[in-house]
């Protein structure tokens, strides 16, 4: 434990100093490159994370061009219950998710076999397989890509925060005073743009690793085709008698955590709140809608059957009445 902490502290300090160094551009693994169009997932082995925040810094650095530059003063919004969400003066905040911080380190101190142990792990968008944020976005601003990334298009998003409401972990974060709403009805509709991890979609397009994976000195994360990542996660879990989070949550996600302690224990120990998601078990948010979608196939058949039935009974009555006249 002591050895673990000192190593963690040493590396944390060293890597923080090296934070200004831009993320290198390691290429994607061959298995990823070969799997064009295949759903990619990331594996996060929390045993390896030392909480150095190198991933946090790398994420901020490579994604800085995507960060909001709001115009101030913000347009007055009506009604008065609509609140401004402004993080532009708090860009250095790294202990939670913000529009300027798309990944942060969560820490949990738990007792394992009578010993107190601290685990740290990066938290960011899980990139669900059937993401409710993308499914329910009324504008098509949030969408899922074929490679398993869920991203929000900042040029289209109006900042209504619906994606945050329907996300089981409430990942997306809003910045007021930026985006399309300013050109439509800034006083009466919209409230900025929602921001969250886009798993460095632009780097992946170029065949590079996401910055947080690329920079990590402990190789906490890896990316690959989802099937392979799931297999590996299970192999690790079997080996360490560990636990998996993200495989089944919300119907399946593309971020798979492996831990030597139950996630329920970690969940109790982490700080939770706005911008600090929990580790609760999550049912498939879209399951009911998917079942109802199946009923939509039956509906027209029922309509056709009803019309045919009506036609048959009307024809029968007509024939009977004509026969009666004769």
């Amino acid at each position: 434990m002591t050895k673990e902490i000192s190593r963690r502290s040493f590396l944390k300090g060293g890597l923080a100093a090296a934070g200004a160094v831009a993320a290198s551009s390691l290429p994607l693994p061959a298995s990823v490159k070969a799997s064009t169009g295949e759903e990619l997932a990331t594996l996060i082995d929390i045993r390896k994370c030392i909480g150095c925040e190198a991933c946090v810094e790398a994420c901020q650095e490579v994604n800085e061009p995507k960060f909001p530059e709001p115009k101030k003063p913000f347009p007055k919004m009506y009604p008065s219950r609509v609140k401004v969400s402004d993080w532009s003066d708090d860009r250095d905040v790294t202990d939670r998710l913000t529009p300027y911080n798309w990944v942060f380190i969560q820490e949990a101190t738990v007792t394992v076999n009578g010993k107190e142990e601290t685990f740290s792990f990066p938290r960011r968008c899980m990139h669900c397989q059937n993401p409710p944020c993308a499914d329910l976005c009324p504008w098509g601003a949030a969408r899922k890509l074929r490679n398993g990334i869920t991203r929000i298009d900042a040029d289209i998003c109006l900042g209504g925060s619906k994606c945050k409401t329907v996300c089981p972990w409430h990942f997306p974060q809003r910045q007021t005073g930026v985006g399309l709403y300013l050109d439509i009805l800034p006083n009466f509709a919209g409230n900025g743009v929602m921001y969250k991890c886009d798993r460095c979609y632009n780097r992946i397009e170029k065949g590079e690793l996401p910055a947080c994976i690329d920079i990590c000195p402990e190789k906490v994360q890896k990316i690959g085709p989802r099937d392979e990542i799931i297999k590996e996660a299970h192999a690790i879990a079997k080996e360490i008698k560990g636990y998996i989070y993200g495989e089944k949550e919300n119907g399946g996600t593309n971020t798979i955590y492996v831990s030597p302690v139950p996630f329920a224990e970690l969940n109790k120990a982490i700080e939770k709140g706005p911008g600090m998601p929990d580790l609760n078990p999550v049912k498939d948010s879209m399951a009911h809608a998917d079942n109802l979608a199946k009923a939509m196939i039956i509906a027209p058949i029922a309509g056709i059957a009803a019309a045919a039935g009506k036609f048959y009974s009307t024809s029968k009555k007509l024939t009977q009445s004509e026969e009666g006249k004769k």
Binding site: P79, R81, V82, Q129, N130, D135, L136, C137, P138, W139, G140, A141, R143, K144, L145, R146, D153, I156, G160, S161, K162, T165, V166, A189, G251, G252, S285, M286, H288, A289, D290, L292, A293, A295, M296, A299, P300, I301, A302, G303, I304, A306, A307, A308, K310, F311, T314
Partner: protein, 159 residues
């Protein structure tokens, strides 16, 4: 023969009322997909708290869509079986059918997009979302206009 005597004898009145009710529910829950009901106090009206729950409005919208699909299939077939021998559709009916067709088709794509393992391109996703809303807005405007000028769906064969 006038449209009034159209052979949907047992169903005509309730069918019309059902269609209006169904469309109202679909329009309300459809607009409820935008985050406006909470902002504009609709969900603060006693008994309307559910309208701010996006999942609830989404389920109701889906149930409404199921009923609409059944109703549309019924009406199309019934028209070809019996209706076309008894009445004609007005020009305004064709406009409404066109817009309704747009709503239904984009709605079907919207549902497909929401299924697991179905991924559309960003451009198609955007088009479907905006087109679905656009067709609905135009339908409501057209319905209002036709209500003002008193143009119904049907006319007699000889009119």
């Amino acid at each position: 023969m006038k449209a009034r005597s159209y052979a949907l004898t047992t169903g005509k009145k309730w069918l019309k009322k059902f269609y209006i009710l169904l469309f109202t529910v679909l329009a309300f829950t459809g607009f409820g997909q935008m985050p406006i009901f909470k902002r504009y106090y609709i969900s603060d009206i006693p008994g309307m708290g559910w309208s701010a729950d996006f999942y609830v409005t989404h389920y109701i919208h889906y149930i409404g869509a199921i009923l609409l699909l059944g109703l549309v299939a019924y009406c199309i077939l019934d028209y070809f079986f019996t209706g076309r021998r008894e009445f004609r559709l007005t020009a305004s009916a064709y406009v409404r059918i066109l817009l309704l067709g747009g709503i239904v088709i984009t709605g079907i794509f919207r549902v497909l997009k929401n299924l697991p393992d179905v991924v559309f391109s960003p451009a198609l996703t955007l088009f479907i979302d905006i087109a679905h809303l656009g067709f609905m807005m135009f339908y409501l405007l057209a319905a209002l206009l036709f209500l003002i000028i008193k143009s119904g769906w049907t006319r007699g064969i000889d009119d």
